[in-house]
Symmetry: C2
Amino acid sequence: MSYKILTIDILKAYILKIEVIKNYLEEGDIEIDEIGDGNLNFVYIVTNASNGKSLIVKQAVPYLRIAGEGFPLSRERMNYEIRALQFYEKVLPAFVPKIYYADEAMSLVIMENLSEHIIMRKGLIEQIVYPKFSEHISTFLAHTLFYSSSLYLNSREKRALVDRFNSNTELCKLTEDFVFTLAFMEDETNDVNPDLLNEAKELFAQSDFKKSVLKLKYIFMTQTDALLHGDLHTGSIMLNADETYVIDPEFAFVGAFGFDIGALIANMINAYISHFYRSKDEIYQAWILETIREIYIKFEEKFLLLWAKNPNSALLKEGFIAQKELDEFKAEFIQNIFSQSVGFAGCKIARRVFGIAGVEDIRGIEDAEKRKQAELMALRVGKSLILNYENIKNVDDLVDFILSNIELYKN
Amino acid sequence: MSYKILTIDILKAYILKIEVIKNYLEEGDIEIDEIGDGNLNFVYIVTNASNGKSLIVKQAVPYLRIAGEGFPLSRERMNYEIRALQFYEKVLPAFVPKIYYADEAMSLVIMENLSEHIIMRKGLIEQIVYPKFSEHISTFLAHTLFYSSSLYLNSREKRALVDRFNSNTELCKLTEDFVFTLAFMEDETNDVNPDLLNEAKELFAQSDFKKSVLKLKYIFMTQTDALLHGDLHTGSIMLNADETYVIDPEFAFVGAFGFDIGALIANMINAYISHFYRSKDEIYQAWILETIREIYIKFEEKFLLLWAKNPNSALLKEGFIAQKELDEFKAEFIQNIFSQSVGFAGCKIARRVFGIAGVEDIRGIEDAEKRKQAELMALRVGKSLILNYENIKNVDDLVDFILSNIELYKN
């Protein structure tokens, strides 16, 4: 089937021709609603009003949906989303929406409608505690990263995986530009708070932290550790008290171990900062910090456990090295993942301040003075993490570092 | 044209049907000789006895030529050789044999016959001084590495390059196994000198240096800096006093900057060590060490010059960072390439001692006692480099390090 855009008037007929979809929805009164909040893609909820069954239809168009046809963006991005979802479904089916149907030629995926879950960013703004989140997301990170790495796959499988994701060029380039470059220099794509023009100018003139940004950008571009989600912020997570789902992996590619972890932590730190100016809810803030701690500690535990269970891989051959030295190697390896993730977190936090894409947690603060203070705090914390990431060796260091930085800058 | 093996009886008719080859050779008495020294491929010299014109025909077969059909090896390796030669021809035509014809489907390449040049390994054994070699090979390394890296290419070009070479799986796997793994543990593929059984046993039982081998192996497998030759030892170089050619890039893939440099230096160090037991020609040995020094210094100069001339790339955008910090970043970047190349050199030297593939320089020493001493010296130097590579910051450190190690172990 050659590609065509499924406008709302032809969508119903199209999807009901797909046997598995027709069987899932069953006969009845089929309703279709467009969800307006997708930046890149068209997203619809399809509901059978007769039996309450529903699903999500997502189709990429060859441009940026939110900006229109004047902003072309290859619809092949959907291939990578489909491939990543399929990988996750194989490795950890409980953490991704069930895929009912996928068609790369149509840039189309039809999947489970997560009707009882909300976007995590919203939940964090509303001070909702998710007691199982650190348990879930650490499992997600440990499993997806480990099972797609050279610590588990053999050489052939690893190169085949790189092959399937290597050409996600345009979305990798968006990250290279918007996370690692343009948000830290004068650029027309930036969106600087008019109250912070001087601070932006000052940041753009600083070069000390940019040396570290370049190092991290280079790692992002050239390190092929494992399959990344590629955009694992709190807007890519849907959850409730009991379940956690990861969605929207269209930025997926084989990249550096620390990048997804860093993205997640960055967004948790943004939420933490925002509550100095939103709720002033210290108990909630303490929960966020403790969750960051737990994510790291559980990730490390789970990752090392998987590694211990799989002694042969592209990297390792049983009998090559004694246990003592192998354990030392692993400890250094994990510490390096941790440090890099702190660096990536710093870039992700700092880039949200003046760059094209802000986060609701902070940019959504209505009081102008509070918003300004929150942005300044995020900027300073982000920059400090970038400058010091190689010296932050474990999560206790990280939490201490955040607290002392915030102490320094809090009014 | 679908693949078939060009046995010597059908070769002439086949190549004379190729217009460009027919035109090059011209009418006359065409003679064909098989060159017996290829391990992997069939190689023929085709000569027109009437006018003296000649060329090389090289075809990959779906097995290891030297071992026979019982050792299958995908003939697609020739695709990567052809692609690498084409890249080199574009970037630096003076340093590779001219390609007259290439056909990936036939795993076939027809190229210039370098009749006035010899394999460098042979020349080094015969104590021939190559006064222009450091100048040539530093240019080759600087240009091929720089122009295939994210310091020159844009993101799209870089990912396209990775795509063209990523699936050279089997040959990458040979390196993973034979350079980074099996030569350092009990394995049936090893070829241990019977006079060194105890020393081999001792090495295989040591794990301190293997931690570093694992680090380097991991870098080899997951770092996509630049297009590598992948097997740049002195057997892959043909030269005379005036010209230097790089041949046989079938191991080509996008890998770590330091790997080709390390391979080359390793083989120069092996030649240096061999002359303690072959010629005892101190002047020649001094020339080898000085050549190593010059290769590094000139490589760095040329690489940085190319970088200075190309301020925009996947990594860099003019105006992003001030000159001072950019220069610091570059200095650290180059130093990191240097250290890694020392580590790779160590692996390459050490693996030649007990591993499957020895080097003629050392294994070819006829006197058993001298050969044993040379092997021990190579083993110790290689292992020391592996253990200390991260602390060897420049080429003077490296030369001092080699000299002091050799002083320590010389009888």
